[in-house]
Structure formats: structure tokens, C-alpha cells
Amino acid sequence: MSTLVDHYLLQLKTFLPAKQRDDIAAELRESISSAVEERERELGRLLTDDEVNGLLRGFGHPMVVAGRYLPMQQLIGPDVFPLYWYVMQAVLIVIAVVGGLMVGIALLTAPRAMQAALQVAVTFWWFALQVAACVTLSFAALDYCNARFSFLDKFDARDVSAGVWSVRGAPLSAIPRADTVFEIATTVILLFWWVEWLVFPSAWLGVVLRLSPAIEAFFYPVVALCIVELMRLGVDLVRPYRTVPRVALRLVLNLAWLTVFVLAYRTEGLVEIAEIVRSENPERVLWMAQVSMSIALFGCASVTAILAATDVVRLVRR
């Protein structure tokens, strides 16, 4: 009997904080002994190992029992969790879609299709893990701040019509949360790629491509724009309605992005060859990459111009 109980308590003690370990184990030992003795009195004999095991099962798994002695801890509490889960799912879906497209392109165009696709998939898998960690840490920080400063409890319904960022006047309209999360995901992908934390594999094209020094002039402006953009989107996430100052800020940011895209489009040689792996015609691959980059920049500039125009219309129609 004693061996089973000893083993049970030994396991339990490993999960307990050192200061309380012996005290809690002594109390539980006493309780188990009382239960065993009472049962033995009822049966008029010593308990078998199976019967002692049955008693211990009634106490619960050592890890579970020990866990109940520890203070309630959670990384992200129930107040913030629904938004966290929504953002996590949405961001991962966007990354999965972008990653899936890249895998598809690799499968269709790369000489060693499977190898290239696997390389792209692994890159996106690691990227998704990093983003998931960032999202989790951000929401853990939000939850910690909420627990410390109770800012969600200090909610004031009047904020919707006269709150932060709104100066005066009613909100213009609601912002769909899916739009905000999509923008966050794409901005994070852009930022990570820009600072080279996310590297799109290009070796399967036969050459390794990289951004040329011509891009240096844009480096800090783009980083700054991404950070301001993420802060703005963070506000949109918590307060999903448009107000005049926030639309005005978005207009300013869109115009700044538009300027960057146009200047980048007009700059020649944004992409260069870092290494030739096995391509017979590296110049052609480079030309294709530069054309793709120009098309992408043109597309981004067009979309940004439309968004800026939308902002102007919103402000004028107010």
C-alpha cells in the first residue's frame, strides 16, 4: 500500500511549488491514510493494490491535483480571447492562402517542382509559426494591460460618438473586422519580407534573387509606414468604426504609400541576382522578376489610389 501512495505523492510533489511541497504532501498522505484505514476497518482486512489504486484514482491525476493548488494563471483571459482567436484564425488563413499560391506557382513553374514546393511550404510554415507567436504575445500583453489598468471596464458608450480620434461628430461608418485583419496580415507579411525575416525562396528559378541597393532609399520610410499602419489597424480592431480623424490619417498614409509605390516603380533595377544556381539564362529570369515587380508595384499603386479616393469621398460626403 505504502509504495503506491509514496509513488503517487512523489509524482504530485514534482508539480508543486517547493515552499508548499512537503506541507501539501503531508496533508494528502494523512487524508489517504485515513481513507485507507476506514475502508480496511469496513472490510476487516488489508486493502489490495487494486483497491488502493482505486482510492488514489478518486483523488485525481497527480498533475491535475497539483495544478489546483497553483494560482489561476492564463496567458490570454476570456475578455480578450474571442478577439485573439478571431485574429489568429484570420491571419493564419491569409498566410495559408498566400503560401498556397506560392506553392502552386512553384509546382507549375519550377524545374524540380516537388523540391521547390516543399521549400516554399517550409518557409511559410516557419513564417506562420513566427506570426502566431507574435499575435499571441501581443494579445498576452493586451490582456496583461487590461488586467492591470482595467481599460475595457472603463468603457464609455459616448466614445463611439465623441471618443479618441473622433474630435467631434458621429462615426462615419463601421469597419468590417475581416477587412482590418486582412490588412494586418498583409502588412505583417510585407514588413517581415521587407526586413528579410521572411525570405521567399527563389533558388528554384535557377538564380537567387534579392532587392538591389537601389531600394535602400525606401527602406526606413516603408518600415515606418508599416509600423504606423499596424498601429492604426490596431485601433481599428478595438474600435471598429470610422471617424473623421482616422479616415484622414488613413488618407495621409495611403498618399504616402502611393508616393512610395510610384517612386519605386520609376526606380530601375530594384531586383538583382545574388547567386546563379543553375540557370542557363539568368538575365531572362532577372528580367521576368523585374517585370513582375513593376506589375506588382503598379497594382499596389492603383489599389492605394482607389483607397485614397474612397477616403476623400468619405470625408467630403460626411
Binding site: 496533508e27 494528502l28 487524508s31
Partner: protein, 107 residues
């Protein structure tokens, strides 16, 4: 699913009641084992894995006091309601009765 749901709802219903029951029962001194038996005899089953951590938590909140003492040739930890616990219990019981009255009116 319905049985899981009822288990979950029952657990939520019991959670607050257990604290009140334990505090009320500890108006007289008990050690863990006899406390559990006393509650069971009065119709409230509580497993050890829940009871002992609850006792510790209530003690750390200052609602219980405890001391190790020998009884029947074994060291046992005896718990008793603290003066602060007595005040809190009174307030909890008032709340409990008000809740019961409200629920009786509703159902």
C-alpha cells in the same frame, strides 16, 4: 453531448456553493478527511482533489486558519473559520438567501 452539457452546467452551479458550504461547515473545527465526510453526510459530495486546494486557497485569503496537531497518533491539519471568514460567511449567506428567494420567484 447533453450529458456533457449538464455536467458542465452542474459544475458551474456547484462551484460557488462549495465555498459557502465549506466555510459554513468550518464554523466547527475539522481536518480535511472529517470535513469531507461531514459534507458528504449532509448531502454534498466533494472530491479530495477539489477540497484540499480549496481549503488552501481560503486560508491564503485569510478566511480560514489552520494548525497541525496530533490526533490518534497522527499529525493532522485542522481548519477553522477565521474572524474575517465569519464576517464574509455572513455576507455570503445573506447573498445566498437573496439569490434563493429570487430564484424561487423566477422558477
Amino acid at each position: 453531448m447533453p450529458s456533457e452539457l449538464i455536467d458542465k452546467l452542474r459544475l458551474e452551479l456547484r462551484r460557488g456553493s462549495l465555498t459557502v458550504a465549506v466555510l459554513a461547515q468550518l464554523r466547527a473545527e475539522h481536518y480535511g478527511y472529517t470535513l469531507r465526510k461531514a459534507l458528504a453526510e449532509l448531502g454534498l459530495e466533494i472530491d479530495e482533489g477539489t477540497l484540499y486546494p480549496l481549503l488552501r486557497r481560503l486560508e491564503s485569503q485569510g478566511l480560514l486558519t489552520s494548525e497541525w496537531r496530533e490526533e490518534d497518533k497522527r499529525e493532522k491539519r485542522f481548519y477553522r473559520l477565521s474572524p474575517e471568514g465569519r464576517t464574509i460567511l455572513k455576507q455570503l449567506l445573506d447573498e445566498w438567501r437573496a439569490l434563493n428567494r429570487a430564484l424561487d420567484n423566477i422558477v
